[in-house]
């Protein structure tokens, strides 16, 4: 089989004595949406941080297109096409909504470090940023200061920033957490559209099982930092290890109720 887009080999991080991610080996292929599930504190976000470079691994490796990027910082990994939308909203708080997104567009440009041209004259960056805002239904808030947005809109902006980066690998960390019911579909539609492209590598951490069922091509389960299950959604959800380790309850009850 071809080289996977993204792969982790025995990826491990220890915080003092606590092993938050424990020798996780997993390959992610283009055109596949992998849902990553597991109870609170299982190490999902930490696993993401190791992949996108916010944390340095204690052991193991991260490979992108077969190339070892373990030593690369977050900026280098972003430049190579790893995009991240954070679980805890991570914006430029005192800049406008459009500027938050425009900065992501600019990051991809060759002249992103230009000292002499005026940012306002790079209209193509602004136009691309506007498109990203339209995709998440945030264009009306264009000039709002990011910090002043309501929670749901901040989550949308978080996603729009990653979309504007146009990465090869999309990493969504609970993109709809805390959103009101009527806001969720915008984000889910967006992920559906992204899937429809057919060539994107998408990783999605999500607690809501109905969302996982409707989107995932594959589910992996993390528990205490270890990868405990991996496979077809239906099979993984039905497996005893998931029923016990992740859901921690008898089958039949709605799992998301456990997460408030």
């Amino acid at each position: 089989m071809s080289v996977p887009v993204l792969e982790t080999r025995d990826l491990t991080i220890r915080f003092g004595g606590h092993v938050a991610v424990d020798a996780v080996s997993c390959a992610f292929r283009a055109g596949t949406l992998t849902a990553i599930v597991g109870p609170n504190g299982a190490g999902k976000t930490t696993y993401f941080n190791l992949i996108s470079g916010q944390l340095a691994a204690s052991a193991g490796a991260v490979l992108l297109d077969g190339e070892d990027i373990t030593r690369l910082g977050a900026a280098g990994r972003a430049t190579r096409g790893i995009g991240r939308a954070f679980q805890i909203t991570n914006l430029f708080p005192n800049l406008t909504v459009i500027e938050n997104v425009r900065l992501a567009v600019q990051a991809r440009a060759d002249n992103s470090r230009h000292l002499w041209s005026r940012w306002s004259r790079h209209v193509e960056w602004i136009a691309r940023a506007e498109r990203a805002l339209e995709e998440v239904n945030l264009i009306d808030q264009r000039e709002t200061i990011a910090a002043a947005l309501p929670h749901g809109d901040k989550r949308k902006l978080e996603v729009a920033i990653m979309m504007a980066l146009e990465p090869h690998v999309f990493m969504f960390d609970e993109p709809t957490a805390g959103m009101s019911v009527d806001e969720v579909p915008v984000i889910l539609d967006l992920i559906h559209k992204l899937k429809a492209h057919g060539d994107k590598t998408i990783l999605l951490v999500e607690h809501k099982m109905d969302v996982v069922r409707s989107l995932a091509d594959r589910i992996i389960v993390l528990h205490n930092g270890q990868l405990v299950a991996d496979g077809e959604p239906a099979a993984v959800i039905a497996s005893p290890i998931v029923q016990e380790a992740y859901l921690g309850q008898a089958p039949g009850r709605k799992p998301e109720a456990a997460h408030g």
Binding site: S52, G53, Q54, G73, A74, A75, G76, A78, T79, R84, F86, N90, L91, F92, P93, N94, L95, E99, R102, L103, A104, Q106, A107, R108, A109, N111, S112, R113, H114, L115, W116, S117, R118, W119, S120, R121, H122, I161, L165
Partner: protein
């Protein structure tokens, strides 16, 4: 035209625009509007400090870097030009070589500080700049053979800029058209050019990344911006501009010493000017420097008058005694920070 001069970063407030026009007009015509050596000295000092404060705003206001070494770079510029003219004669080539040497030394030192410490936490960076600046000041005063020590050095400037050089026999509008006037306009034009340069840099793609780093460096990194690179380059640019301001100061004063360039009192003044004017606005440098230096030079005189007028009244004359001017400046500062936390420019823009 105006847009490209101001890099599309317009004042965005009528009152601010009016204040800026008034300040620029007053500085441009200062020799003719306000005759007398004291007034023209004040005007030149304002020009020089606008550059110094603008370059500091690039660091603290735009990038979020707190440095206490800004006067060190100011001093490097002043000493580079001053000691050059003192030791090798008052000619233009010496002046330019002195400036060049100062620029190279300043940028090299900034690079060293930057690479050593921009990776560490902001508080450590501030401490390191403080330590380096103190060491530099001690060096400058200790090597008195070379630098003139505490007394500094007085020197001649190139002939074209000397008061004795007359361009016209008769005064125009009561002002002698001489080398001193030429020196003022050299300072004014250089300051204007340097300020517009700083305004362009903060409105470039690079400058926008600086603001992103100030807001959230971890997110900037996650977008692919190498934060250390941007912080280091910002530090270099700010240092180079401070060196240039120092060179202008030496040219104008025809003197270089620790008190006029290196002292921490000046560092504190710069901080106050940038905060009063409004951090991260560039125009704040113009407003802050103008107001602060006017207050510094004229508050004392104003208080002298008040003390005389209140003579005989108990306590009050002591309160407004000219020696107390720093106290009142402090009170003004606290009030302005309290009422305009985003500075005067932020306040004016907020109102629209």
């Amino acid at each position: 035209m105006l847009g490209s001069l101001l890099s599309d970063d317009l004042p965005r407030s009528r009152l601010l625009a009016a204040a800026l026009v008034a300040i620029v007009a007053a500085l441009a015509l200062a020799p003719f509007l306000f005759p007398g050596a004291a007034a023209i000295n004040t005007a030149a000092k304002i020009c020089i400090f606008i550059v110094l404060v603008a370059s500091y705003d690039l660091l603290i206001g735009y990038t979020g870097i707190v440095s206490f070494a800004h006067t060190m770079f100011f001093g490097i510029g002043a000493y580079g030009v001053g000691l050059g003219l003192y030791s090798f004669g008052a000619t233009w080539p010496v002046l330019f070589v002195g400036l060049l040497v100062a620029l190279v030394a300043g940028i090299a030192l900034a690079l060293l500080i930057g690479l050593m410490s921009l990776r560490v936490r902001a508080i450590f960076f501030a401490m390191i700049t403080l330590a380096v600046a103190s060491a530099f000041m001690i060096l400058a005063t200790q090597f008195s053979e070379f630098t003139g020590g505490e007394d500094g050095r007085s020197f001649k400037v190139p002939e074209l800029l000397r008061p004795a050089t007359k361009f016209l026999d008769a005064p125009v509008l009561g002002v002698d058209i001489n080398g001193r006037l030429a020196a003022y306009y050299l300072v004014f034009a250089s300051a204007a050019a340097l300020f517009l340069l700083a305004l362009r840099i903060v409105n470039s793609p690079f400058g926008r990344v600086l603001q992103a780093i100030r807001e959230n460096d971890m997110r900037a990194e996650a977008l692919g911006y190498r934060v250390v690179y941007f912080r280091t380059v910002a530090t270099l640019i700010a240092a180079a501009m401070a060196v240039a301001a120092g060179a202008l100061s030496a040219l104008w004063l025809r003197y270089t010493g620790p008190d006029t360039t290196l002292s921490f009192a000046i560092m504190l003044d710069i901080l106050l000017m940038v905060v009063i004017g409004g951090m991260g606005t560039m125009y704040g440098a113009v407003i802050g420097a103008s107001l602060f230096i006017l207050a510094q030079n004229y508050l004392q005189r104003l208080m002298g008058l008040a003390a005389e007028a209140l003579a005989g009244v108990p306590v009050l004359p002591h309160l407004v005694h000219p020696d107390r001017w720093l106290l009142w400046l402090g009170v003004l500062f606290v009030l302005s920070v309290y009422y305009f936390p985003s500075g005067i420019v932020g306040r004016l823009r907020g109102r629209k």
